[in-house]
Symmetry: D2
Subunit: 418 residues, 4 copies
């Protein structure tokens, strides 16, 4: 099947940089999208189990968000607002307070550090270092926290690290949950380093963690491991940063992925699905007493993306005033796990809520599964250090039929590539 | 005059971080905007001579961009596209090629490094270091290139640098044009360091420059200085990066601010007004032969902001298929300069096109001017190392009357604060 | 007992910096020394079980070295020779080759990197980084490799690290032998990081190790652990550096402390007892194929300390042309271990050859033991991250009687402080 | 003329590392030395106008130092003393106080940071960073401060810097006196950076300077430039470190090279000729109020080189209780300058006291002059970034006849290579 029929190289090939990547995996030209489906320019539909790498938890062009957005833009609402006060920002802050912070009794201030995840991580690092006066930040094996220089130093992936072109410093990697196969008690190595003044570990400012590592291969940490980490941070005077950029906004069920563990991080980063509509927005949340910023000490041109405030507010209103979405996501976890468990992959499926990983014997097979799934009309991508894990991130608004359909296509793709 | 009458602290004060800044300068709540004017929630109009720090060169909610945007969103066009191929991206690339690259014979590939300026700078740094295998990058006194760790190391401002919390390394600062008052031939110090193997300057990978320093206090470099720099880079085997994030997209007249000097940088960063509508988008352009990226070696969730492609395409179509906007901007430079010259400020007004700076005796006075202008209905902001420069960035689409009105308000604000 | 009776503060207190330390532990003024004994200015003898922190393996003013030294100096031999060729250096190189390198078939070139241990470590780091083109060097928990910036980054001790005043970078700490209590197979964590391209560990240039950690609290690595490390380095393409500054020159029995394990490091650093007379000298040895230095690429004013060559040659002639010293040292290990085992300390005595550590419940007790030993006429010092280990480093030339005497005093000091 | 006749490669070639350098310039094997002369193993004399790179200001094996040294060693004085109090150290401290510190009213504490110059520089950096809590240290173009990682970051030479294998950070280079040809007022650039909070220069902890750059090509700073620098440091709250390792101990006339300028640095490093006999010793001197070290926070095995204390004391006694040596050195400066001025080299001879540089058109010629001088029986070496400067460092104890002889040989070498 030829998906792109052209007589010569496309403008993507002649003008766009070689750095482009997803367009190589999914070789067609997409035109529109709605709910769980993308359509290419030939009208061919694709079920989207990638959801903008977790940026489209409420699906494409969700009508509950689209209407307010069109109204706002149509009415000449502020589009670009730096960090001026606007009615759209006020409504967002009030809604975020009433639907997210207050019900959970979270003592957080909200910062808009720039429109994308890595901006939020950079801001979190600055703040943790400023508050503590220390430089070292601990991250975990197979972590992914972004591509700007500060965030990249926390990221595990060797290829991405090599792209920095300068040594990546001021960070130390610790083993993520189950990394050492359970041979050691949780945090044994980490705590030994902390308690031993001869260990060579400079006292860290903070620890940054994903509750489920998405790019790292869909590795969910156990709740007790996260509790142990929070406890370690408290006992050892380190700030705990949860990077909830991919796993927040309901991906694992609760609004924040750390709620299940019953912990309260000192700093939280949010992005991807916070605008709910795929519009760039990110937040950095932190305990009130950590709000030691000078005005403008961190800034960014697009930190106040007002159309994104509008859709973000609509999304909170539509999905987080009750527990329906959360409950449905948690229920579906079992469905997905069961379906994936029958595929006979190299390892048991792993995940939480609606993020799942299927580990294959190697990256070649996993990539073949994704290619075949694409041909069969399903978008899924690989992750993990060797691309060996097929990652499922369907919209949380996926219907039961769509979920069945997608899992069915995946099953066929696995069989076809065996 | 009380602009906000409230009985208690606002949600901005109780929930938003202390890092907020512009909302302190302009203490009201904005609601909508059109053309050169913003309106607060009480309907009070403000003439906007800040234009989103240069992100709104075509004014607020420009109808020529608004219509295609509403059509696109209304028709369920792709909003979030990672770096998938989409019809919106194709149209943008083709339009960018036909209106920008081809007419200027610029041999550039286009990279979407993430939606904000600092992402583009980080990508440019990575690429320059990868291509050359060197680490040092030269920037200039009073430069501003962004707030993530890589970009911040290039930035001059001491307060912003201090926010890093770690030493900023791998960069060296050189004197910007006229920084040493003309006592030395251009680049004398820089070239001495380069030619002297005992100077302690490790051979730089690249030099990054703004043709007019915006945040640094509106310092325009002379065309011959820029030519000298380009020549130095060529002779001494360093890549030349022009950061055109604030000064590109017609701000100085030409689409690129470096066109006047007749130079062709190796790498160019664009953001702010490239989407034309205040939507987050940035580009990194570089010579074809520098396109040594591995697929995905740099990435970012919001690198393909498709609504921004739509408005960007519309803006190029509306304003860059002929020279009308450019010519008008260049003509207006003289008008603005003349008007500002009569204000009797501490130094002659300086600028190019529609970016102008008025230097006052100190930051206190300049801030007072901005406060008074706000009270009189004009938004302007300070810049410079001591906030001593009032910076004018009206939309390029400002009408003659609006321009007169704004300059008149500014004149009064200067007089009132004398 | 008052050891120093003065009417006012001494010149040590008024002129010497507060950084002085051993003089606080041993509050007297020493005047002369011979064999295993130091004498203070009042003629009071002290048995020296510290031996210049391992710099006096052949005792103080050993006659076999003293005579050639006096002859050399008396005959106006070259004292200061930079790296000129001298007869003294030639004799040393020839003797080192015939007594050390050739009998062990060690394929090493010899470099004189400066007169002290940290110079040798800095040179080893430079060479490893130059050869591999990589920056990261792995060291171990509780390592000590010196106090200049490059070496300090490898050192574990938090107080010493803090003294750097800048972040210490380009190094990663791994658990030393038995650090995790045997819960994990040797090098499990290290190898996981190496094999996992998502671990965040940049491929190291080299690993640097002490076979027995002296400053770290007298921690001897098992021979099989060292063999495992050498094997890991070979399999994973990392250079193996053994820092034999304190443990070399016969301290553990063999000339090199790594001989027992049957490994051949890529790079070896030697200092302390290599001159045999307490004169500053250090060597950096490395495999012939690693000798990629440019002439003068690393240098140092005192790298050719010719009087030290003379005593070094004499020491090799006197002690390393047969196995008598080695055999005696190995035999004595058992004696010392047995004697120390009867003291009932917090942990079993640990050591090899004539380096032994006695761990007490805390640093306070260990320091009290050293103070009491001093009062009783024995010089011993603490080590370990909390100063909790009394370290024994008697001269290898100690007589049986002196050894008994010293162990007896130590036993009394332990009892008196119980 | 064949200087070494051998049937095969020497042990220097087969065993010593390729890093060796001076032995390549002076291809013979030296055996003994006295006063201003070295003798090779064939008895051939060489007049030494290099003096151990400034380590032998009192000549080789000076009898006034030799006698006490032989007595001390013969009498079993302490050779190796870590930082224990010894009679030899006491005598040195008292003599240093009475002959150096007290007569000049210098308020310094004395630290023994290790036996070589780079140890002293590393200690000075640590102290400056600790006292100020800042990281950046300013050095000058063509500076040389040593080869360990901290010192190397201050050093200008590109080849030596490249040897680091890691980026050299936390330092900034400023133009040395006359580097910009006098086009700018002294420190104009430096002060602009300091006064401008947008300059990108992080507030430095300290400035380190050589009053005459030896390795950098014999560049003497003018006294008023040094005074300007001291004034700048005081006004701008930066510590002033004078690295007097090569230029101290009378090389320029006064004991300290900065005395002529009438300044009092905050920190001074001394090494090379401080022992007076070529034995490794270095000092770090600093204002009493800067003595914030913790005991042992910086240390080093050979920091108490007691034989070096003995010769250092003897040298101070012999040469610094009156002004005879100083006066003679100052008188000879004129003689040397006049003689060198007649050689018609590329630039006027430059220097102070008994350190002089002769600049040739390129490094090839300068090296040829040194080679020819060697053949004629004179040891001189090149320096400068391109090796273009022949550097003269005769012993301060050189006789009038020897000085004439050496200058005569040099003159012939210049002519022979024209």
């Amino acid at each position: 099947m030829t998906l792109i029929a052209e007589t010569g190289p496309t403008v993507f090939e002649t003008v766009e940089s070689e750095v482009r990547s997803y367009c190589r995996t999914w070789p067609t030209v997409f035109e529109r999208a709605t709910g769980s489906r993308l359509f290419d320019e030939h009208g061919r539909p694709f079920l989207d189990f990638f959801a903008g790498a977790g940026s489209l938890n409420y699906g494409h062009n969700n009508p509950a968000l689209k209407r307010p957005l069109l109204d706002y833009l149509g009415g000449d609402g502020i589009t670009h607002g730096l960090d001026m006060s606007t009615t759209a920002k006020r409504e967002f802050l009030e809604t975020f307070r009433s639907t997210v912070l207050a019900p959970r009794a979270l003592p957080y201030k909200v910062m808009f550090p720039g429109p994308t995840g890595t901006n939020a991580v950079e801001a979190a690092l600055k703040l943790a270092r400023k508050v503590t006066g220390r430089t070292t930040v601990v991250s975990f094996t197979n972590a992914f926290h972004g591509m700007s220089l500060g965030s990249l130093a926390l990221t595990g992936n060797a290829g991405k690290r090599a792209g920095a072109g300068v040594p990546l410093t001021h960070t130390v990697q610790m083993p993520y949950d189950r990394y050492l196969g359970g041979a050691l008690p949780d945090f044994h190595w980490f705590e030994r380093l902390l308690e031993d003044s001869g260990s060579g570990l400079d006292h860290p400012a903070a620890v940054i963690v994903e509750t489920v590592q998405g790019e790292g291969g869909v590795n969910p940490a156990r709740a007790e491991w996260l509790r142990g980490l929070a406890d370690l941070c408290r006992r050892r005077d380190m700030l705990l940063i949860v990077d909830d950029i991919q796993m927040g906004c309901g991906r694992t069920g609760d609004f924040f992925s750390f709620e299940e563990a019953g912990i309260t991080p000192d700093i939280v980063t949010l992005s991807k699905s916070i605008s709910g509509y795929g519009l760039p927005l990110s937040l950095c949340l932190f305990r009130d007493e950590l709000d030691v910023w000078e005005p403008g000490e961190h800034n960014g041109t697009f930190r106040g993306n007002n159309p994104a405030f509008v859709t973000a507010t609509a999304a909170l209103d539509a999905y987080w005033r009750d527990t329906a979405l959360r409950d449905r996501t948690l229920r579906r976890a079992a469905t997905v796990e069961a379906a994936l468990g029958e595929l006979g992959t190299a390892a048991a499926p792993r995940g939480r809520g609606l993020v799942w990983g299927l580990e294959f014997e190697d990256g070649e097979r996993a990539r073949a599964v994704c290619r075949r799934a694409f041909e069969l009309g399903l978008l899924v991508e690989t992750s993990g250090p060797r691309d060996e894990v097929v990652k499922l991130l369907p919209p949380l608004t996926v219907t039961d039929d769509e979920l069945d359909e997608g899992l069915g296509i995946l099953s066929r793709a696995v069989r076809h590539t065996a």
